[in-house]
Amino acid sequence: MLVFLLKRIAMVPPMLFAVSVVAFLCLELVPGDAAQMAAGQLQDPETIAQIREKWGLDEDTSPVERYGMFLNNLLIQRDARNFYTGEYITEELFERFTATAELALAAMLIAALIGVNLGIAAGRRPGSGTSAASLALAYGGISVPIFWLAILSVGVFAVWLQVVPASGRLDASLLADFDPITGFYLLDGLLKADMRILGSALHHLILPAAVLATIPTAIVVRLTRASMIEELQKDYVRTARSKGLREDRVVRGHALKNAAIPILTATGAQFGYLLTGAVLTETVFAWPGLGSYVVEAAKGQNGMALMGGILLLGTIVVFVNLLVDVLYAVLDPRVRAGQHSRREGGTA
């Protein structure tokens, strides 16, 4: 396993380098004058000259030098400004990241709870109505345009029934004198022991999280169902049953344990996707996360902000994928014993 892990970890630096190059290309390839773009329409020539100097956006600087300046500005100096908001990009990104992470964690929790349980129920009786319903849900979940579902749910739950708010993370009245500690509002509410903040944050979180959970739920349901069907046919299950074990223990104690590895791996991969891919959901719910940040940057042709966003997104995925692989190695005894590489094993 050590060899597998070391090999896997050795892949991280080149991946990070590649991610940074892609982010750098955002600045490099932006049409027109990048410095002017970064500054926006209203800046004075002096500021633009400063930007040009800081980022090496003139003809004398080679792309390689410019790449060095780019890394220096974003990672070491961390004083790159988003001229559209006047804030430091790194600070903005951190704030946005916690918003997205909170949403993604909540969505993942919903997906895991519903997905695994429904998948088990469907897998136990492959021909039943539950099974057909879970397959229908799985197909529906991956075919539905997520932003449309978001619009519908806002219309139904926020406008018609008025049970939840339509957008944002916190009531405006609370937001005014709220000073976040961690940036995770639920956690902040707990830390401050302020029930109003906790309640309001939860109230705002539930609908976007449920909508965002659609795709991962669909994937987890289908995978769990398929794995359970496969496992429940195996000899050890028959043995467990014939020695008189309760069916529940057979299913949850034995079969699920063996089915868990592919489910966990897929869930982990989905989590990476959620952390980064909540672009549309965040936009509809005006959730101040990374996804909507990237959209705003792209729509406003704000190369600087987009570059920062891309760098962070790519880095997140690289590390989430690493984590998933490590988890896989730790869980799968075959990898643990070094007999089996993941590529041969597969999860499907």
Binding site: P14, M15, A18, V19, V22, C26, L29, V30, P31, P126, G127, S131, L135, Y139, G140, I142, S143, V144, P145, I146, F147, W148, I151, L152, G155, V159, W160, A218, I219, R222, L223, A226, S227, I229, E230, L232, Q233, A266, A269, Y273, T276, G277, V279, L280, T283, V294, A298, K299, G303, L306, G309, I310, L313, G314, V317, V318, N321, R343, T347, A348
Partner: protein, 344 residues
């Protein structure tokens, strides 16, 4: 196409013909457990592969030959999900044809009355400007199907050659191309497409290109995996022993045997492309706001949903059903064309 290969194709056709049509029924309730368990996938699986970097699939059967086509159609009709998928796809192809007629005759203002609820005259109601939603949805079908198909073609034309080259030549070429594919897949497809559209300018054309480019690594990876297996098959060795030039081996022996997975992936890919294109135009990146595009309609009408639900329901359901159709049909194709799946 080498002799060996042709014979193999014929054998395949015969196998198609002799296969009892009820061997594999609907994937839903009646699927045999092992078959379902072994293929927990479809588009889900494609996404999984996308997310995890696993694509070592066994090579799939060649396309049915002409002799095998009729039994193939018969089996397709029996395969309930695939058939339903095909019907949905055809329904929207029909809608697109109708949309073209509307486009040519320039039917727009069917009623001067805005927000007319659905009626016999206006089956889907009218929107804020009194446009008939049925006409708009049909015209949107033209744009969606066309753009998604073009995007998938772009993805195929970029991805397949890359995959073939990487898989067939191996060595450092494979290493370099493989890493490029990995990096492209590191970014969520929508974010990457968003970036490309920002860099190239906001228009439906650039959305098409962006979605195509972003989809290419999926094809490259699938084809690379197939080629790795096919490369060591006897008929390729035979062709090499006969002294055929590399290009002839590639096009004559290797590529034809990759067609099935490409076809399946392309069908599923159209569904994904429709979603991505609609998403990007929903974000307002399609430039011209007067385009009849489903995602754009949803963006323009989203605030009217609570009062006039039909202006949001109609385009959304259209996207949903079209994508569902391609997903069901694509998965069905995989089941029907995969000899391993069929034997089970």
């Amino acid at each position: 196409m080498s002799g060996d290969e042709q014979r193999q194709g014929e054998a395949q056709g015969a196998q198609n013909a002799s296969n009892p049509p009820n061997a594999r029924d609907a994937e839903g309730a009646s699927a045999t457990p092992s078959a379902t368990a072994a293929d927990p996938g479809g588009p889900l699986r494609a996404r999984q592969i996308e997310a995890q970097g696993l694509a070592d699939e066994p090579p799939e059967a060649p396309l049915p030959t002409r002799r095998g086509l009729r039994p193939f159609v018969r089996r397709l009709v029996k395969h309930r999900p695939a058939f339903v998928g095909l019907c949905l796809v055809l329904l929207f192809v029909g809608a697109a044809a109708l949309g073209l007629v509307f486009e040519i005759q320039d039917v727009r203002h069917a009623s001067p009355e805005p927000f007319h609820p659905p009626s016999l005259e206006h089956p889907f109601g009218t929107d804020t400007q009194g446009h008939d939603m049925f006409v708009l949805v049909c015209r949107g079908a033209v744009a969606s199907l066309l753009v998604a198909t073009l995007a998938v073609l772009i993805a195929v034309f970029i991805g397949v050659p890359l995959g073939v080259v990487a898989g067939y030549f191996g060595g450092w070429i494979d290493l370099v191309l493989g890493r490029i594919i990995d990096v492209m897949m590191t970014f969520p497809s929508l974010v990457l497409a968003l970036t490309i559209v920002m860099l190239t300018g906001q228009s439906l054309k650039n959305i098409t290109i962006a979605v195509g480019v972003v989809g290419a690594p999926l094809f490259a990876r699938q084809v690379r995996a197939s080629v790795l297996v096919i490369r060591s098959q006897d008929y390729v060795t035979a062709a090499r022993a006969l002294g055929f030039r590399r290009i002839r081996i590639l096009f004559g022996a290797v590529l034809p045997n990759c067609l099935t997975p490409i076809l399946v992936l392309a069908t599923l890919g159209i569904g994904t492309a429709i979603l991505d294109v609609a998403g990007l135009s929903f974000l307002g990146l399609s430039g011209d706001p007067s385009l009849p595009e489903w995602g754009l309609m949803l963006q323009l009408n989203q605030n009217d949903f609570a009062q006039y639900p039909w202006v949001v329901l109609a385009p959304g359901i259209a996207i949903f059903l079209t994508v569902l159709g391609f997903n069901l049909f694509g998965d069905g194709l995989r089941d029907l064309l995969d000899p391993q799946g069929r034997r089970r």
